[in-house]
Symmetry: C2
Subunit: 204 residues, 2 copies
Protein backbone atom coordinates (compact mmCIF):
# COMPACT_ATOMS: atom_id res chain seq x y z
CA UNK A 1 0.00 0.00 0.00
CA UNK A 2 1.24 3.48 -0.85
CA UNK A 3 0.28 6.34 1.44
CA UNK A 4 0.23 10.08 0.81
CA UNK A 5 1.80 11.22 4.05
CA UNK A 6 2.58 14.38 5.92
CA UNK A 7 4.64 14.20 9.13
CA UNK A 8 2.60 17.08 10.63
CA UNK A 9 -0.85 15.57 10.00
CA UNK A 10 -2.55 14.03 13.05
CA UNK A 11 -4.85 12.03 10.76
CA UNK A 12 -1.82 10.51 9.04
CA UNK A 13 -0.48 9.75 12.50
CA UNK A 14 -3.65 7.78 13.32
CA UNK A 15 -2.95 5.61 10.29
CA UNK A 16 0.72 5.11 11.15
CA UNK A 17 0.03 4.36 14.84
CA UNK A 18 -2.54 1.78 13.73
CA UNK A 19 -0.01 0.25 11.32
CA UNK A 20 2.61 -0.11 14.07
CA UNK A 21 0.10 -1.43 16.60
CA UNK A 22 -0.98 -4.11 14.11
CA UNK A 23 2.54 -4.88 12.86
CA UNK A 24 1.87 -3.97 9.22
CA UNK A 25 4.03 -0.82 9.01
CA UNK A 26 6.37 -2.58 6.55
CA UNK A 27 3.51 -2.86 4.06
CA UNK A 28 3.30 0.93 3.71
CA UNK A 29 5.30 2.83 1.13
CA UNK A 30 5.36 6.52 2.07
CA UNK A 31 4.58 9.12 -0.61
CA UNK A 32 5.34 12.76 0.11
CA UNK A 33 2.62 15.40 -0.21
CA UNK A 34 1.98 19.11 -0.08
CA UNK A 35 -1.59 19.05 1.23
CA UNK A 36 -3.27 22.25 2.41
CA UNK A 37 -6.89 23.35 2.91
CA UNK A 38 -6.79 26.22 0.42
CA UNK A 39 -4.07 25.12 -2.00
CA UNK A 40 -4.56 21.42 -2.67
CA UNK A 41 -1.87 19.01 -3.86
CA UNK A 42 -2.85 18.00 -7.43
CA UNK A 43 -1.18 14.61 -7.06
CA UNK A 44 -3.52 13.80 -4.18
CA UNK A 45 -6.57 15.35 -5.86
CA UNK A 46 -6.17 12.83 -8.70
CA UNK A 47 -7.08 10.12 -6.21
CA UNK A 48 -8.93 11.95 -3.41
CA UNK A 49 -10.90 14.97 -4.57
CA UNK A 50 -10.68 16.69 -1.18
CA UNK A 51 -6.90 16.75 -1.58
CA UNK A 52 -6.50 15.65 2.02
CA UNK A 53 -4.02 13.30 3.60
CA UNK A 54 -4.04 10.52 4.50
CA UNK A 55 -4.96 8.94 1.17
CA UNK A 56 -3.81 5.40 0.42
CA UNK A 57 -3.45 3.69 -2.93
CA UNK A 58 -3.91 -0.06 -3.34
CA UNK A 59 -3.24 -2.16 -6.44
CA UNK A 60 -4.29 -0.46 -9.69
CA UNK A 61 -4.31 2.88 -7.87
CA UNK A 62 -7.56 2.02 -6.05
CA UNK A 63 -7.89 4.87 -3.54
CA UNK A 64 -8.70 4.46 0.12
CA UNK A 65 -9.54 7.40 2.38
CA UNK A 66 -10.08 8.97 4.93
CA UNK A 67 -8.13 8.07 8.09
CA UNK A 68 -10.93 5.96 9.59
CA UNK A 69 -11.21 3.89 6.45
CA UNK A 70 -7.46 3.38 6.11
CA UNK A 71 -7.16 2.42 9.78
CA UNK A 72 -9.94 -0.16 9.36
CA UNK A 73 -8.22 -1.50 6.24
CA UNK A 74 -4.84 -1.87 7.96
CA UNK A 75 -6.56 -3.56 10.87
CA UNK A 76 -8.18 -6.04 8.48
CA UNK A 77 -4.80 -6.79 6.84
CA UNK A 78 -3.44 -7.95 10.16
CA UNK A 79 -6.25 -10.40 10.88
CA UNK A 80 -8.77 -10.63 13.71
CA UNK A 81 -6.45 -11.36 16.59
CA UNK A 82 -5.32 -8.15 18.24
CA UNK A 83 -7.83 -6.05 16.30
CA UNK A 84 -8.15 -2.41 17.33
CA UNK A 85 -11.81 -2.54 16.20
CA UNK A 86 -13.53 -4.93 18.63
CA UNK A 87 -16.64 -6.54 17.16
CA UNK A 88 -18.47 -7.38 20.38
CA UNK A 89 -20.45 -5.23 22.79
CA UNK A 90 -17.63 -2.67 22.80
CA UNK A 91 -17.85 -2.01 19.10
CA UNK A 92 -19.92 1.15 19.03
CA UNK A 93 -18.30 2.60 22.13
CA UNK A 94 -14.90 2.33 20.43
CA UNK A 95 -16.23 3.81 17.19
CA UNK A 96 -17.87 6.69 19.08
CA UNK A 97 -14.63 7.34 20.92
CA UNK A 98 -12.79 7.37 17.58
CA UNK A 99 -15.33 9.95 16.38
CA UNK A 100 -14.74 11.99 19.55
CA UNK A 101 -10.98 11.99 18.96
CA UNK A 102 -11.59 13.02 15.34
CA UNK A 103 -14.00 15.78 16.43
CA UNK A 104 -11.35 17.22 18.77
CA UNK A 105 -8.87 17.11 15.88
CA UNK A 106 -11.32 18.71 13.45
CA UNK A 107 -11.87 21.57 15.90
CA UNK A 108 -8.10 21.94 16.49
CA UNK A 109 -7.44 22.15 12.75
CA UNK A 110 -10.17 24.77 12.27
CA UNK A 111 -8.59 26.78 15.11
CA UNK A 112 -5.21 26.52 13.46
CA UNK A 113 -6.49 27.57 10.04
CA UNK A 114 -8.22 30.52 11.70
CA UNK A 115 -5.20 31.63 13.73
CA UNK A 116 -2.35 30.87 11.31
CA UNK A 117 -3.55 30.45 7.73
CA UNK A 118 -6.29 33.11 7.47
CA UNK A 119 -5.13 36.70 6.91
CA UNK A 120 -5.04 38.42 10.28
CA UNK A 121 -7.61 41.07 9.40
CA UNK A 122 -10.20 38.39 8.57
CA UNK A 123 -10.03 36.39 11.77
CA UNK A 124 -13.20 35.92 13.80
CA UNK A 125 -12.69 35.44 17.54
CA UNK A 126 -16.10 33.83 18.09
CA UNK A 127 -15.29 31.10 15.57
CA UNK A 128 -11.99 30.30 17.26
CA UNK A 129 -13.62 30.32 20.69
CA UNK A 130 -16.46 28.07 19.48
CA UNK A 131 -14.03 25.51 18.11
CA UNK A 132 -11.75 25.62 21.15
CA UNK A 133 -14.81 25.11 23.38
CA UNK A 134 -15.35 21.80 21.56
CA UNK A 135 -11.76 20.80 22.31
CA UNK A 136 -12.17 21.70 25.98
CA UNK A 137 -15.47 19.86 26.40
CA UNK A 138 -13.92 16.88 24.64
CA UNK A 139 -10.98 16.84 27.07
CA UNK A 140 -13.41 17.05 30.00
CA UNK A 141 -15.35 14.07 28.70
CA UNK A 142 -12.12 12.09 28.20
CA UNK A 143 -11.08 12.83 31.77
CA UNK A 144 -14.57 11.95 32.98
CA UNK A 145 -17.08 9.57 31.48
CA UNK A 146 -14.83 8.18 28.74
CA UNK A 147 -11.73 7.59 30.83
CA UNK A 148 -12.31 3.92 31.58
CA UNK A 149 -13.02 3.24 27.94
CA UNK A 150 -9.86 4.89 26.55
CA UNK A 151 -7.57 3.49 29.21
CA UNK A 152 -8.97 -0.06 29.32
CA UNK A 153 -7.31 -1.19 26.08
CA UNK A 154 -5.42 0.42 23.20
CA UNK A 155 -8.01 0.39 20.43
CA UNK A 156 -9.04 2.64 17.53
CA UNK A 157 -10.73 5.01 19.99
CA UNK A 158 -7.59 5.34 22.12
CA UNK A 159 -5.53 5.85 18.96
CA UNK A 160 -7.69 8.77 17.80
CA UNK A 161 -7.48 10.29 21.27
CA UNK A 162 -3.69 10.01 21.60
CA UNK A 163 -3.27 11.59 18.17
CA UNK A 164 -5.49 14.47 19.28
CA UNK A 165 -3.51 14.94 22.51
CA UNK A 166 -0.23 14.73 20.59
CA UNK A 167 -1.50 17.37 18.19
CA UNK A 168 -2.36 19.71 21.06
CA UNK A 169 1.22 19.41 22.30
CA UNK A 170 2.57 19.88 18.77
CA UNK A 171 0.55 22.90 17.64
CA UNK A 172 -0.99 24.34 20.81
CA UNK A 173 1.95 23.92 23.15
CA UNK A 174 0.86 26.88 25.30
CA UNK A 175 -2.35 25.10 26.19
CA UNK A 176 -1.96 23.53 29.60
CA UNK A 177 -4.51 20.74 29.41
CA UNK A 178 -2.57 18.50 31.81
CA UNK A 179 -3.16 20.35 35.09
CA UNK A 180 -6.91 20.28 34.55
CA UNK A 181 -7.00 16.69 33.26
CA UNK A 182 -4.57 14.76 35.45
CA UNK A 183 -5.82 11.23 34.75
CA UNK A 184 -5.72 11.85 31.01
CA UNK A 185 -2.22 13.34 31.34
CA UNK A 186 -0.91 10.31 33.25
CA UNK A 187 -2.44 7.92 30.73
CA UNK A 188 -1.01 9.91 27.81
CA UNK A 189 2.46 9.81 29.38
CA UNK A 190 2.19 6.04 29.72
CA UNK A 191 0.95 5.29 26.20
CA UNK A 192 3.46 7.73 24.70
CA UNK A 193 6.10 5.09 25.56
CA UNK A 194 4.63 2.67 23.02
CA UNK A 195 6.76 2.11 19.94
CA UNK A 196 3.81 3.12 17.72
CA UNK A 197 3.80 6.54 19.37
CA UNK A 198 7.56 7.09 19.42
CA UNK A 199 7.95 6.19 15.75
CA UNK A 200 5.26 8.65 14.68
CA UNK A 201 6.08 11.85 16.56
CA UNK A 202 4.82 14.85 14.55
CA UNK A 203 7.29 17.03 12.67
CA UNK A 204 6.80 20.10 10.57
CA UNK B 1 -32.92 4.87 20.21
CA UNK B 2 -33.31 8.62 20.71
CA UNK B 3 -31.76 10.94 18.14
CA UNK B 4 -30.84 14.59 18.39
CA UNK B 5 -32.15 15.72 15.04
CA UNK B 6 -32.21 18.77 12.83
CA UNK B 7 -34.29 18.76 9.64
CA UNK B 8 -31.67 20.92 7.87
CA UNK B 9 -28.64 18.74 8.70
CA UNK B 10 -27.39 16.54 5.84
CA UNK B 11 -25.58 14.31 8.34
CA UNK B 12 -28.86 13.71 10.17
CA UNK B 13 -30.38 12.93 6.79
CA UNK B 14 -27.74 10.22 6.22
CA UNK B 15 -28.89 8.57 9.44
CA UNK B 16 -32.58 8.85 8.59
CA UNK B 17 -32.12 7.59 5.02
CA UNK B 18 -30.20 4.61 6.41
CA UNK B 19 -32.98 3.96 8.93
CA UNK B 20 -35.65 3.93 6.20
CA UNK B 21 -33.53 1.82 3.86
CA UNK B 22 -33.06 -0.75 6.62
CA UNK B 23 -36.65 -0.56 7.89
CA UNK B 24 -35.76 0.52 11.42
CA UNK B 25 -37.15 4.07 11.30
CA UNK B 26 -39.78 3.16 13.89
CA UNK B 27 -37.04 2.49 16.42
CA UNK B 28 -35.95 6.16 16.39
CA UNK B 29 -37.45 8.71 18.75
CA UNK B 30 -36.67 12.20 17.43
CA UNK B 31 -35.28 14.82 19.84
CA UNK B 32 -35.20 18.45 18.74
CA UNK B 33 -31.95 20.40 18.83
CA UNK B 34 -30.46 23.84 18.34
CA UNK B 35 -27.02 22.83 17.08
CA UNK B 36 -24.65 25.42 15.60
CA UNK B 37 -20.90 25.60 15.04
CA UNK B 38 -20.30 28.65 17.22
CA UNK B 39 -23.16 28.47 19.69
CA UNK B 40 -23.53 24.84 20.74
CA UNK B 41 -26.70 23.25 22.14
CA UNK B 42 -25.92 22.42 25.80
CA UNK B 43 -28.33 19.47 25.76
CA UNK B 44 -26.28 17.86 23.01
CA UNK B 45 -22.93 18.84 24.56
CA UNK B 46 -23.85 16.78 27.64
CA UNK B 47 -23.64 13.69 25.44
CA UNK B 48 -21.45 14.74 22.49
CA UNK B 49 -18.83 17.32 23.38
CA UNK B 50 -18.69 18.72 19.83
CA UNK B 51 -22.35 19.69 20.17
CA UNK B 52 -23.04 18.34 16.69
CA UNK B 53 -26.01 16.48 15.32
CA UNK B 54 -26.64 13.68 14.72
CA UNK B 55 -26.06 12.27 18.19
CA UNK B 56 -27.99 9.18 19.28
CA UNK B 57 -28.68 7.95 22.80
CA UNK B 58 -29.10 4.27 23.59
CA UNK B 59 -30.20 2.70 26.87
CA UNK B 60 -28.75 4.42 29.94
CA UNK B 61 -27.97 7.48 27.81
CA UNK B 62 -25.03 5.71 26.11
CA UNK B 63 -24.09 8.14 23.32
CA UNK B 64 -23.43 7.20 19.74
CA UNK B 65 -21.97 9.62 17.20
CA UNK B 66 -21.10 10.75 14.51
CA UNK B 67 -23.26 10.00 11.44
CA UNK B 68 -21.03 7.17 10.20
CA UNK B 69 -21.19 5.42 13.54
CA UNK B 70 -24.96 5.82 13.90
CA UNK B 71 -25.51 4.57 10.32
CA UNK B 72 -23.39 1.50 11.04
CA UNK B 73 -25.34 0.91 14.27
CA UNK B 74 -28.73 1.15 12.55
CA UNK B 75 -27.47 -1.18 9.85
CA UNK B 76 -26.42 -3.71 12.49
CA UNK B 77 -29.86 -3.50 14.17
CA UNK B 78 -31.49 -4.66 10.96
CA UNK B 79 -29.32 -7.76 10.52
CA UNK B 80 -26.96 -8.84 7.76
CA UNK B 81 -29.43 -9.30 4.94
CA UNK B 82 -29.80 -6.10 2.96
CA UNK B 83 -26.88 -4.44 4.71
CA UNK B 84 -25.74 -1.08 3.31
CA UNK B 85 -22.20 -1.94 4.50
CA UNK B 86 -21.10 -4.89 2.35
CA UNK B 87 -18.42 -7.01 4.01
CA UNK B 88 -16.88 -8.56 0.91
CA UNK B 89 -14.48 -7.19 -1.69
CA UNK B 90 -16.62 -4.05 -2.00
CA UNK B 91 -16.24 -3.10 1.63
CA UNK B 92 -13.49 -0.51 1.40
CA UNK B 93 -14.79 0.96 -1.84
CA UNK B 94 -18.13 1.63 -0.18
CA UNK B 95 -16.45 3.09 2.91
CA UNK B 96 -14.22 5.32 0.76
CA UNK B 97 -17.24 6.50 -1.17
CA UNK B 98 -18.99 7.30 2.13
CA UNK B 99 -15.91 9.32 3.08
CA UNK B 100 -16.06 11.11 -0.28
CA UNK B 101 -19.71 12.05 0.27
CA UNK B 102 -18.84 13.27 3.77
CA UNK B 103 -15.88 15.27 2.43
CA UNK B 104 -18.16 17.04 -0.07
CA UNK B 105 -20.55 17.80 2.77
CA UNK B 106 -17.78 19.03 5.07
CA UNK B 107 -16.62 21.42 2.35
CA UNK B 108 -20.21 22.59 1.69
CA UNK B 109 -20.74 23.31 5.37
CA UNK B 110 -17.49 25.27 5.61
CA UNK B 111 -18.61 27.31 2.57
CA UNK B 112 -21.94 27.99 4.18
CA UNK B 113 -20.41 29.06 7.49
CA UNK B 114 -18.07 31.35 5.57
CA UNK B 115 -20.78 32.90 3.41
CA UNK B 116 -23.69 33.08 5.86
CA UNK B 117 -22.59 32.76 9.47
CA UNK B 118 -19.32 34.74 9.48
CA UNK B 119 -19.60 38.53 9.65
CA UNK B 120 -19.30 39.87 6.13
CA UNK B 121 -16.18 41.95 6.77
CA UNK B 122 -14.28 38.83 7.91
CA UNK B 123 -14.95 36.60 4.91
CA UNK B 124 -12.00 35.21 2.97
CA UNK B 125 -12.64 34.49 -0.69
CA UNK B 126 -9.71 32.08 -1.02
CA UNK B 127 -11.10 29.89 1.75
CA UNK B 128 -14.52 29.70 0.11
CA UNK B 129 -12.96 28.99 -3.28
CA UNK B 130 -10.70 26.29 -1.83
CA UNK B 131 -13.64 24.50 -0.22
CA UNK B 132 -15.86 24.83 -3.29
CA UNK B 133 -13.04 23.40 -5.42
CA UNK B 134 -13.25 20.26 -3.27
CA UNK B 135 -16.97 20.04 -3.95
CA UNK B 136 -16.41 20.46 -7.70
CA UNK B 137 -13.63 17.87 -7.88
CA UNK B 138 -15.80 15.53 -5.85
CA UNK B 139 -18.70 15.90 -8.29
CA UNK B 140 -16.33 15.26 -11.20
CA UNK B 141 -15.11 12.05 -9.57
CA UNK B 142 -18.68 10.92 -8.92
CA UNK B 143 -19.57 11.51 -12.57
CA UNK B 144 -16.39 9.74 -13.63
CA UNK B 145 -14.47 7.02 -11.89
CA UNK B 146 -16.95 6.48 -9.03
CA UNK B 147 -20.13 6.38 -11.10
CA UNK B 148 -20.41 2.63 -11.45
CA UNK B 149 -19.84 2.19 -7.75
CA UNK B 150 -22.52 4.65 -6.59
CA UNK B 151 -25.10 3.54 -9.11
CA UNK B 152 -24.55 -0.23 -8.83
CA UNK B 153 -26.39 -0.61 -5.52
CA UNK B 154 -27.82 1.68 -2.85
CA UNK B 155 -25.28 1.34 -0.04
CA UNK B 156 -23.71 3.57 2.60
CA UNK B 157 -21.58 5.24 -0.05
CA UNK B 158 -24.57 6.05 -2.25
CA UNK B 159 -26.43 7.34 0.83
CA UNK B 160 -23.64 9.78 1.71
CA UNK B 161 -23.53 10.96 -1.91
CA UNK B 162 -27.29 11.52 -2.25
CA UNK B 163 -27.31 13.49 0.99
CA UNK B 164 -24.49 15.66 -0.37
CA UNK B 165 -26.34 16.24 -3.65
CA UNK B 166 -29.56 16.99 -1.77
CA UNK B 167 -27.69 19.49 0.37
CA UNK B 168 -26.36 21.27 -2.73
CA UNK B 169 -29.94 21.66 -3.96
CA UNK B 170 -31.11 22.81 -0.52
CA UNK B 171 -28.44 25.37 0.33
CA UNK B 172 -26.65 26.10 -2.95
CA UNK B 173 -29.63 26.11 -5.27
CA UNK B 174 -27.91 28.51 -7.69
CA UNK B 175 -25.20 25.96 -8.36
CA UNK B 176 -25.97 24.18 -11.61
CA UNK B 177 -24.12 20.92 -11.11
CA UNK B 178 -26.56 18.94 -13.28
CA UNK B 179 -25.59 20.26 -16.71
CA UNK B 180 -21.95 19.41 -16.15
CA UNK B 181 -22.68 16.04 -14.48
CA UNK B 182 -25.51 14.50 -16.49
CA UNK B 183 -25.08 10.86 -15.42
CA UNK B 184 -25.00 11.87 -11.78
CA UNK B 185 -28.06 14.08 -12.30
CA UNK B 186 -30.05 11.25 -13.90
CA UNK B 187 -29.09 8.84 -11.14
CA UNK B 188 -29.99 11.38 -8.45
CA UNK B 189 -33.41 11.94 -10.03
CA UNK B 190 -34.01 8.19 -10.00
CA UNK B 191 -32.94 7.55 -6.39
CA UNK B 192 -34.81 10.63 -5.19
CA UNK B 193 -37.98 8.60 -5.79
CA UNK B 194 -37.09 6.16 -3.01
CA UNK B 195 -39.25 6.42 0.10
CA UNK B 196 -36.11 6.95 2.22
CA UNK B 197 -35.34 10.10 0.23
CA UNK B 198 -38.88 11.47 0.09
CA UNK B 199 -39.42 11.06 3.83
CA UNK B 200 -36.23 12.94 4.68
CA UNK B 201 -36.32 16.05 2.47
CA UNK B 202 -34.38 18.86 4.17
CA UNK B 203 -36.27 21.72 5.80
CA UNK B 204 -35.05 24.81 7.58
Amino acid sequence: MRLFHSPASPYVRKVMVTAYERGVEDQIEILGSAAGPVKRDPEIVKHNSSGKVPCALLENDTPLFDSRVICAYLDSLAGREGTVYPQGADRFDVLTLEALGDAILDACLLCRYEAVLRPESLRWDDWYAGQMAKVDSGLDDLEGKWFERISGAFHAGSIAVVCALGYLDFRFSDKDWRSTHPKLAAWFAEVSERRSMKETLPKG
